[in-house]
């Protein structure tokens, strides 16, 4: 009983950590306060709210059935935040772990995870001034919804194709990271299309300028995720 609970908590925390981190510390990629025109502010909030709403309903049910989960979830969220704020030298640590995410998704569903992600992003804007309140909808959509789905999907797919365990972890972590960066570039391109080349041209510009930081970052992320999991497996 104790043991199974330990694993349950472990999985939950790891799930939230890896998953939340898939977007967290790509600091340069949090859309800053006031950057998006009001139209896009509203659109992205509307896009994100259903996930948040359903997530909260599921949270309500979870807390009613097992009240101690409130603390476990709070700890997980804090854990994720702390890792996103740790300054991993020349890397700003962020990773997205698919196994964790996979278990987390199986246990709680992606909806609860989007609430967790939302809270992390909120604290990033309140305590670290990364991102903002009006742009929270857009940031949450790419980082708290899209990233985890990609990680989950990539991991499942690579498992199916019998890719080596470490490679699939790496791919899921790295690709989820890339996906959020692509999504953010897309959000920016939609709001600020290029006067000559339109949305596509603008997307190309955003995507290539942020690639300087984001591509090495996602590779390191992938590596770190693999290393962390291998360490835990030994423990």
């Amino acid at each position: 009983m104790r043991k199974s609970f330990f694993w349950f908590c472990s999985i939950l925390m790891l799930a939230s950590y890896f998953w939340v981190n898939s977007f967290s510390s790509t600091h340069a990629m949090h859309i800053a306060e006031g950057f998006l025109p009001i139209k896009w502010v509203i659109i992205w909030w509307i896009a994100f709210l259903p996930f948040l709403f359903i997530g909260i309903l599921q949270l309500r049910k979870l807390f009613r059935n097992s009240p101690e989960m409130k603390m476990v979830l709070g700890l997980s969220t804090a854990f994720a935040f702390v890792l996103s704020a740790l300054k991993i030298p020349s890397v700003t640590g962020s990773s997205s772990h698919p196994t964790g995410l996979g278990f987390g998704t199986i246990l709680f569903g992606p909806m609860i995870m989007s609430v967790v992600g939302f809270v992390v992003l909120l604290f990033q804007s309140l305590l670290l001034a990364h991102g903002g309140i009006t742009t929270l909808g857009a940031n949450a959509f790419s980082m708290a919804v899209l990233g985890p789905f990609v990680a989950y999907g990539v991991y499942k797919a690579s498992k199916k194709m019998n890719v080596h365990h470490n490679v699939s972890i790496f791919l899921a972590a790295a690709l989820a990271n890339l996906a959020t960066y692509v999504a953010t570039s897309f959000q920016l391109a939609l709001a600020f299309p290029d006067s000559v080349n339109g949305i596509i041209g603008s997307f190309m510009k955003f995507a290539s300028i942020f690639a300087i930081t984001q591509i090495p970052l996602s590779i390191v992320e992938g590596l770190l995720t693999v290393m962390v999991l291998n360490f835990l497996a030994k423990y």
């Binding site: 702390v82 804007s125 903002g132 920016l188």
Partner: protein
């Protein structure tokens, strides 16, 4: 986490959090909705004055804080500023052009305008947020959120997370120091390996905390963490009237100038 420490020490702690919330969010929404450069500059000026003079925050610290979102803002603005094309362009609004191999680079006047506007509006909005987070500690924000009737689950999660953040952060920093003293971060490779050890250990400490805290909750006669968010003091009606007129003046000023 300097922001949190300042928020708990500054001089506006006697002002009701709901008033601060209305003021900050009101100004923010005004800036983002109207997207007017002059107005944004005005908001920037007002907020900076309040932060530096009224809240007595050192100007260097404030500038340092302002520079935090600059990385994102500047990178994005640079990509808006330049246009790339395979063909040369010679419209009237061309400000500058150059070429790298087969690719032509331009700065167009319209894009220049957009970039400047975006920069000023962003900076204006950022100061609104800074006013709010520097003047309102998280426990006051929690009180506001509970007054706004946001779902209890969400507020609880925010509150519990906030409490744990600092505990875990402290442990993480201690671990980082302990690794550094044993040369665990002397090179990129070693550092990466050290982080891959630090993260699971932090996680194990987190689990330990969970057990301890559950016992502490039980010992105080509960099995669930039911939190309350209180604030002593009432909303000052005069302040609300003042805010009301302030926003009316902001909007009419905008209409007047157009």
């Amino acid at each position: 986490m300097i922001i949190d420490t300042i928020a708990n020490q500054q001089r506006l702690s006697t002002i009701h959090p709901i008033e601060k919330f209305i003021f900050a969010i009101g100004c923010l929404l005004t800036t983002v909705t109207l997207r007017d450069v002059g107005l944004s500059l005005l908001i920037f000026f007002i907020m900076s004055m309040i932060i530096i003079i009224v809240m007595d925050i050192h100007i260097l610290l404030y500038l340092k804080l302002l520079s935090l979102p600059l990385l994102f803002i500047l990178t994005s603005i640079i990509s808006i500023l330049f246009t790339f094309s395979l063909e040369p362009y010679s419209g009237e609004d061309l400000i500058w052009s150059g070429e790298i191999g087969p690719i032509f680079i331009f700065i167009l006047f319209t894009n220049f305008e957009v970039a400047i506007e975006l920069f000023l509006i962003s900076i204006g909005s950022v100061t609104c947020i800074y006013f709010f987070i520097l003047s309102t500690p998280v426990h006051e924000l929690l009180f506001v959120l509970s007054r706004l009737r946001l779902p209890k689950e969400l507020i609880d999660l925010i509150s519990i997370t906030y409490r744990f953040l600092f505990m875990l952060m402290e442990t993480a920093i201690q671990m980082y120091y302990a690794q550094s003293t044993r040369l665990g971060h002397r090179s990129f490779r070693i550092s990466l390996r050290s982080f891959s050890i630090l993260i699971p250990n932090l996680f194990i400490q987190t689990l330990k905390k969970r057990t301890e805290m559950q016992q502490a909750i039980d010992s105080r006669g509960a099995d669930e963490l039911i939190l309350s968010f209180t604030y002593e003091g009432k909303v000052n009606k005069k302040h609300l009237f003042f805010l009301f007129f302030f926003f009316i003046i902001l909007f009419s000023g905008k209409v007047f100038f157009e």
